[in-house]
């Protein structure tokens, strides 16, 4: 039992190392683009336009959008890391290396998810450092900040895994990020408070899960939020659990991997 546990631990370490090695090897595709994109957001939205907008939620516009932009990077990168890595391994059939080995489905999933989470957090760290060139930042509640950013990264890493399992070609791995994640993120309170919206659209916005994540993170950094933090964290825990179980079901059934 103990040896099986340590074998699984080594397997997990192996998968995580391989995932980290992958995204750091191709850093020009994985770590550099979000840094450039976010620097442009800071310059254009935060500095040039933000100065004319004035304050929001009691903070300068730049301070207000920084948590949202960090979350935007985490969401995009956690998702795309897992979806592209796992789909590539399916496409090259190197996923068979894992499937013929005694690694448990939980270890496979946690390994890939950790890869996505670590890339999300690495990009978050880069974007945070960049933001310090434009504004000062203080953390209002460290625990909430760490919990929300980790849960968000985990949720989107698991989402990316599901997308990769169902994907049959490279088009299938870009549909969700382009047509689902990007609109939900832009409409998820990254750039504005939903107080600015009419009551009807405020209600509609509440159905956007990304709004809850962004606001929960903003609360951790700035101490202001459009939503209740307890509800947001609860929803995230439920979402992470449901996605985890879905992924495990897919791995056990071998969908898209076993004939």
């Amino acid at each position: 039992m103990k040896s099986e546990f340590s074998a699984n631990l080594i397997a997990l370490q192996t998968i995580v190392n391989r995932e980290v090695r992958r995204f750091t090897r191709i850093w020009a595709q994985t770590l550099l683009p979000p840094a450039i994109t976010m620097a442009l957001y800071f310059v254009i939205f935060g500095n040039l336009i933000g100065n004319r907008i004035g304050g929001m939620g009691g903070f300068s516009y730049m301070e207000y959008i920084v948590p949202g932009l960090i979350m935007m990077s985490v969401i995009t990168n956690s998702y795309s890391n897992v979806v592209s890595s796992f789909f590539s391994s399916k496409f090259q059939r190197s996923v068979e290396e894992l499937l013929v080995s005694p690694v448990s489905p939980h270890v496979i999933l946690i390994g890939y998810a950790c890869g996505g989470i670590l890339r999300g957090l690495a990009v978050a760290a880069i974007v945070t450092i960049l933001s310090l060139f434009f504004t000062h930042m203080q953390v209002h509640h460290l625990g909430i900040t760490v919990l929300v950013i980790s849960l968000t990264a985990a949720i989107f890493a698991l989402g990316g895994f599901i997308n990769a399992v169902y994907a049959r070609n490279f088009d299938d791995i870009s549909i969700v990020p382009t047509f689902v994640l990007t609109p939900l993120t832009y409409l998820g309170g990254v750039f504005y408070s939903i107080d600015l919206l009419p009551p009807f659209w405020q209600g509609v916005s509440m159905a956007n899960p990304i709004l809850h994540m962004v606001n929960a993170f903003r609360y951790g950094i700035l101490g202001v939020s459009d939503i209740q933090i307890g509800v947001a964290v609860g929803l995230m825990l439920v979402a992470a659990s449901v996605l985890y179980l879905w992924c495990i079901h897919l791995l056990k059934s071998g969908r898209g991997m076993r004939q």
Binding site: A7, A11, T14, I15, N17, Q92, E97, L99, V100, R258
Partner: protein, 310 residues
Amino acid sequence: MSKALSIRQLTKTYGNGFHALKGIDLDVAEGDFFALLGPNGAGKSTTIGILSTLVNKSGGEVSAFGHDLDQDPAGLKRCLGVVPQEFNFNQFEKTFDILVTQAGYYGIPARVAKERAEEYLTQLGLWDKRDTPSRMLSGGMKRRLMIARALIHKPRLLILDEPTAGVDIELRRSMWTFLTELNRQGISIILTTHYLEEAEQLCRNIAIIDHGRIVENTSMRQLLQKLHVETFILDVKQSLSKAPVLAGYPVRLISEHSVEVQVDKSLGINDLFVQLNAQGMEVISMRNKANRLEELFVSLVEKNLAKGKQ
């Protein structure tokens, strides 16, 4: 002797309704070098796919060294090393990293994995390619890399699905030597191949699968004894305008200096030479028209085909 592999009533029906396996029974003894032969689409790769858990079975039971596929898949997987027919490693990873990563999946600590990777890469002549991304390797090198990868966790049963396909003869023979040595060390081996000479040379026992059924399962020696007639090509010194008449031996003229002769085992070959001598013909060289196993294989598959049509 204990069983390395036991298969009972194994069936597989694919989603499109194709019955790839129709109830296969197969036993491979520990330490055996076993050939699984069959024409394309016979069910060999499906069988290997099920053993390696890449194909879900429709029915039946499979166990390796007592580890049941349904009850203890992890235990079964630890016993098996699989060399698939098609390359399936990460094209961007380095040769050395592929082996160390694979070892990690089996819970082997990095230090031990690195030692083993060096050992197998050296044995298979790939050590100087350790830092080369796998996509840059030649076809033969990729095949050897897949063998090294399958061995990295020291499996008790090695399954090779056409390991020498597309490999030049020199390399093929060096792989035969390597596999024979592995078998001598106690690793049970199951081999599928299209080179029947390879199966005849390496394997002690054999099963022939066709249309999802086992049509023959015996020792190589016993199977070859079933061969009643062998066909030889004789190269003769004299110029021939027509085939010589040899009592009891059907002869066909192939070219001016060579003939094809069918030899019934009951007659033997001595009388053939006596008759040729009597006709003043000098034989320069003699060879089998086809590999002996190939003749049997073709006749078995044709027989099975005829049975299927009836």
